[in-house]
Structure formats: structure tokens, C-alpha cells
Symmetry: C2
Subunit: 455 residues, 2 copies
Amino acid sequence: MPQSPVADDLHPELPESLQDIVENQHLHTALEWLETHQPHIIADELARMDNVTAGIAFRLLDKDRALTVFEELEPVDQQAILEGLRDHTFRDLVEGMDPDDRARMLREAPAKVAKRVLAGLSTHERRMTAALLGYPEGSVGRYMTPEVVALSQDLTVEQALRTVREKGAHAETVYTLPVVDRSRRLTGIVELRELVLSPPDAMVSTLVVTRPTFARAADSAEQAARLMRETNDLNLPVVDSEDRLVGLLTFDDADELIEAADTEDMARQSGSAPWAGHYMAAGVWQLARYRALWLSLLLVAATLTVSVTRAFEGTLEQVAALAMFIPMLIGAGGNAGAQAATACVRAMAVGEVRGSDLLKVIWRECRVGVVLGGLLAVLGVGVAVAFVGAKVAVVVGVTLVLICAWAATIGGTMPLLAKRLRIDPAVVSAPMVTTLVDATGLVIYFVTAKLVLGV
Amino acid sequence: MPQSPVADDLHPELPESLQDIVENQHLHTALEWLETHQPHIIADELARMDNVTAGIAFRLLDKDRALTVFEELEPVDQQAILEGLRDHTFRDLVEGMDPDDRARMLREAPAKVAKRVLAGLSTHERRMTAALLGYPEGSVGRYMTPEVVALSQDLTVEQALRTVREKGAHAETVYTLPVVDRSRRLTGIVELRELVLSPPDAMVSTLVVTRPTFARAADSAEQAARLMRETNDLNLPVVDSEDRLVGLLTFDDADELIEAADTEDMARQSGSAPWAGHYMAAGVWQLARYRALWLSLLLVAATLTVSVTRAFEGTLEQVAALAMFIPMLIGAGGNAGAQAATACVRAMAVGEVRGSDLLKVIWRECRVGVVLGGLLAVLGVGVAVAFVGAKVAVVVGVTLVLICAWAATIGGTMPLLAKRLRIDPAVVSAPMVTTLVDATGLVIYFVTAKLVLGV
């Protein structure tokens, strides 16, 4: 048995990249490379390559593997590959995809590609795909798989297993079997596992989990996925507004939803627009575009600091030593604020903090800020005494306590306020908190200086 | 059918909290509350309550629900509950847990609790738990479930299903059935779904996926979980160093591993130590402790900015207007650096960027920085002209381009360098990059000023 794929690294360094092999026209080596690597590794390599070379490499795959690899790709990469394919290969590939994967790709495809994809489908597949695309952006309906085997609860285990055998061949998953009444209303679920472990003449009704967790097709897909993770459900039944079963949200789609949401949260936390593509495949202009807006807004907001400094120009001229500590003080405030903001955004994402906790969060972050500020004051006063003497050191110490308390409070509160205003809490980024704390922190610093030094 | 649990919010605002109900001794209301809410909601409420009240509420649950709720709790909360239980309830609860959940709780329990837990177990359960605890911290062995139904490949489908029925009752999952040879070496896997969908007299050997993805018990648990997510495998077979099957890593454990790793990455990104507990249950001192170390280190590092400003005191005294732009310039640099660092840390976590990409990342982030710096320079020069005139504005513009290029390069490079030094890339936090850019950015600013203004 070969080396475990996890042993060294999830992504081992390859001796020669597929890009190099294909570019140098070593077709035999390329074929061998493609045969000896697993689909997800191949997909990774294709995602890193330029479109033309990736297209050539993709066409070297045999038909079955091509579909597996294709389904592992991100929608942007799938489109790039599709554009280079001839009609019959194109049709085979698109027809072979699961309806939910196909809908996912079409969501992001330009109209021309979408039209060609839908035209190539059989009526049955086209109808299913169109139904998924009819649900609103970001809703469970867009991500669910519509091919579900549903059972009636007056079957025996043997009859139920026969139904699964007859209808299950095309269903993406049969591990969770929704139970429905005559009008296809969801009344419970049965796990395939329970059917297999039970005697053939047992009644399905004895195995049904009634009041199952479920979602409506119009619900938020991300929240449904997080709910699945909390309840450890493998698949979540999806119903329409009249409680009729319309599909199943599967664990792998839920995983993808959560991974995408977390990547988005992290990007927002650093003040970037979320970017769904592959980092190494993105061009310089693309990367810059995703970061430019926030960076510009923050710079404009930072002109507040210029105004504040100018307003206290007199103080600064009388005690020039004050300028020395500006970066350190606003840096400490920014860091304390960023810590609090990140902790709260994550706690809200995983459901630990709710909107009604606002006052509690303010009170606890304020105290945490005082504790941390006190600690930093001890260090800061030491530094300031060494550089400029006791008087300014007192200003530095007092400012650190006030600035940390203020920054932690602001950092912890802003995500909750954002939620009340129905804005994604993750938009409250660390840079946003930092910039806000920069300007207000300077006011705290200069006012403290005026009071302590009497200038 | 009731309202979908996702519809409004994953965590609906409850009219009265369980804490209030229990504290006010409304036992009937409490019992009713516990009966009408789902286990994961109950676990959420318990996690938010103080230990004494949570202990009282927990004892009100009936036996079966108690176990389900208990398994939904985080290890810290589990220990708190256990400490308040009498011996026989304690034993029932611990014996009823799955071996991997139990091992997970014991990993973090103080020795006294661990001893009491192990003492209460039957020999069989104790042996399984001890085996899991024998694997190194963070390894797959610690997280896998050891109760697996393995098949031999010369069975028919009917025989295989009978084996599953006989041995499967205690196994946590039977959806992935590893196939082993006579010495229990892993040779492939069969999905339960395939068995159910096939005719009873078919041979298992025709359904086996050979060369399955697998992990070794000593491999990194997080990497194994990320591999499962890439390959969309429900369960991952785990083998020992001699390729013998020892367990399965299940999808729900993989989800937990990834959620914990992502929470940890986010905490580190904001310069906090990772904290596994519930935000609302943590005390002020606890929260402060997790943030104190980094905040102090960063403050000490920030004294560099004091030194730099002092070294250029002469320049600053001659052109006092320069002080006004310090917060804005180092803020912009810090933001550009944080964006790059976050993008790279995430790209590395999901496997898009590898160690060998170092030079490529440096080159692309440097160019992205120049593009963004150019954009900010246009805005910054405008502001500076309005406030202080053209000469200083030129200094501000040039500094913005240089500082952004430098910050993006540093931000993108540091996570990769950390990986080469075998440090977790996520430790390269935005605050760390910001602090580094603060000091070096000031040098860039003052040197530019000296050159442009000739002072």
C-alpha cells in the first residue's frame, strides 16, 4: 500500500508540474501523470494552470475520470474548460453532472455559456436544473439536490428497501430517506442504516424520526448548513412553502457552503471584498480590485486623524515628545479592537452570541479592555519613562487604559450593531475598527495630555 | 408542521431564558421547556449558563435525552456537568457515549475527572477509550471511531448485508464499509449504498473501490479532515503503521475538527491565543488572558516606532506638518498588509498556495501593492494638498506607493516563511504585520521626506 496521502502534506510538492509537462508537449508523461493522480489533485493542478493549457490537459482525461475531475473544479474553472470543448464532449459532461452541481456552475456562468449548457440537456435534466435556478440567490433551493427517494410510512422494511433499489440508482444520496404522506408532505425521516439493520418484516413507521430537522427552500443556505453541522445531520430534507418535500441538502454541499462562508468572513475581516476564485490563478488586477474599495474608504476615513492632529497642533508643538508615541498608542488600540471584533464576529457566526446580548457584550468587553489596558500601561509607562521622562509617561499610561477599554468596547459592539441594522456582521472588519479607533484614540490621547500636562 | 428552524434565525430569541426559568425555580416550566426544544438548542442554552444552574437543568432531562444533549456539549461544559452528578447517573452517561466523543472529553479533562470516568467503564469500553488516548495529540487516532464493520471481499452482497446487520448495531456508522484481507490490511472500501442497490447474489468484489483515500492513525487530524472535504468522502478509513484497519474518521468529527481549526485561525489572525470555550460563558479574566500575551508582545514591538520617530526628531521639528499624516500613512500600510496576509493564510489553509510558491507570491503581492498604493496616492495627495500644500503632498503620495508595495509583500510572504520554519502560518496575524509595517513604514516616510524636501 502506498504512502498515506495525508502523511507529509495535503498537497505534496510535485517533482514537475502538470503545466510544465503539458507545455513541453510530453504527452506520454502527461497521460501517466493523469492516470496516477487522484481526481482532487488533478483538479487542484488544473485550477492553477492558464486556461489554454488546462483545456489541453483536461481533454487528455478519459471520459469517466473527466466527469469526476470536472465536478471537483470551482465554477469559474469549469466554465473555462467548457469553453474549449467540442459539442458532443460538452454535452456528455454537462448531462453527467448532478443537477445541484450544474445549477451551481450556471449561477455564475455568463448567459452565453448558460444557454449552451441548457440547450445540451435532456428535457428531464433541463427541467430539474431550471427549477433549482428558480430559487432566490443564496437560498437552500439553489443548493439542494432534487433527486430524492421518499418513502411512505406504511411500508415494511423489505418493501422500503425495494423502493430504494428501484428508484435510488439516480439519486445522489439515499442515506437519508424522507417519509411523506399522500400529498408529499414531509412527516419524518428514516436513515438507510436503520432499514438495513432492521428485520425485513418490521414496519417503517417504527423506525421513523418524527419532527425531523428540515429547511424551507427559501431559507438561507448558509444557516441551513450551519444547522446541519450543529445537529450532525448527514442530509437535510427541504420543503416548499406548503410543506411538500422538494429536495435534500447533502453534507458535501453543506460543507462547501460553510467553507465558502468562512473564506468570505475571513476576507471581510481583513477589509477585502470576498473573492471566490483560486488565489494563484487570479491576476494582479483582479486581486487589487477586490481590495481597492475598502482600502480607499479606509484611507478617506483616516483623514479624520489628520484633522484631529491638526486640531491639537498647539499641544503637539508645546510637547514635541507626544508625537513619538502616536503610532504605539493607536497601534495598541487598533490591536485591542481587532481582537474583540474578531472574537465577536466568530462567536456570532457559530451562534454563541445573539442580538439580544448587546448590553452584556458591551459590559464584558469594556472590562476586558480595562484589564488589558492596565497591563499595557505598566509596559508603556516603562518605555515612556526611559525615552522622555515621567510626565509624558503618565499621559501614555492613562491613554493606554482608556484607549484599550474604548477599542475593545467598539470592537465587540460594532458586529452586533451591524446585525441589528441587517448588515453582515463580518463586514465589521478589523481594519474598520482600527481606523475608527485611530481617530478617536488620538482625541483621547491629546485630551489626556492637555489635562495631565496642563498645556 | 411548525415553522422551519432556519426561517428566522439559527438561534431564535427565546422569550425567557432557561437560566431565568431554573433560577426562579419554575420547575414545571423548565420541564416543559426542555421537552419542547431540540437537543442542540438545549445544549446551547446550557453552555451559556453558570455551572450550578446548568447542572440543575441537566438533571431535569430524562435519561435518553440527557445523553444526546450531553454529546452536543463542548468538553469543558461536559466536565462541569459531570462534576455535579451522582455516581450511577455519571456512569450511565459516560458508558453511553461513543468512544471517540469520550476520548475527546478526556483529552481536556483534569486527571481527577479522567480517573473517575475510566473507573466507571466496562472493560471493553475502557480498552477502546484508552487505545484512542494512546495516539499523539492532534493525530487522526485521537478522533477516529474504533468501532468499524469491516468486510472481506469474497462475500456476496447478501452475506455482506447480513454481516452489517449482525455487527453493525454498535458501530457509529456503517455507510462506509472498509474491505480488509485476512491480516486486516485495508484493500478497499464499499459504500453501504452500493450494497443496498445491488442484487443479493452479486459479489462484493465487483463493488469495491480499490486504492481508497485513507489516513494513518498518526497523521494530522486536521489535514485528514481537509482531505475528506476535498474528496467529499463521508468517512475515511484509518490504518496503523502496518496498514491494518484501526478505525474510521467520520464526517461529523471531520466537521468539528475543521470548525475548531478555522476558529483557531481566526483568533490567531486577530492576535489572540485560540480559545475553545463559549464566548458568553467565559469570564472577563479568561478573555483577557487569551489576548494579553500577543497584545503585550505587539506593544513591546511597537516601541520600535518610538525609536524611529526619535531618530527623525530633527526632520519632524523642521516640518511639523509631517506629524499630521503619520496615523493615516501607517494605517494604510497596515491595512494593505493585513489584506495580503489574510488572503495568503486562507489560501494556504485550503491548499491553494504551497511552500514552493514563495517567489511567485512575493512578485504578485508586490505588484498588487504598487497598484493599490498608486490608487491611494491619488486620494492621499488630494487630502494633503488641501491640508498643507504641494510639497508635503508629494511626500505623502510617494510614501503611499512605497508603503503599500512593502506592506503587501511582507503580508503575503510572512505566512509562507512561517510555514518554512514549521510555524503555523495563521500565527502571522494581521496585528503582527501591522506592527511590523508601522515601524518600517515610518522609516520609509521620513527617508522619503528627507529626500524630497531636502531637510
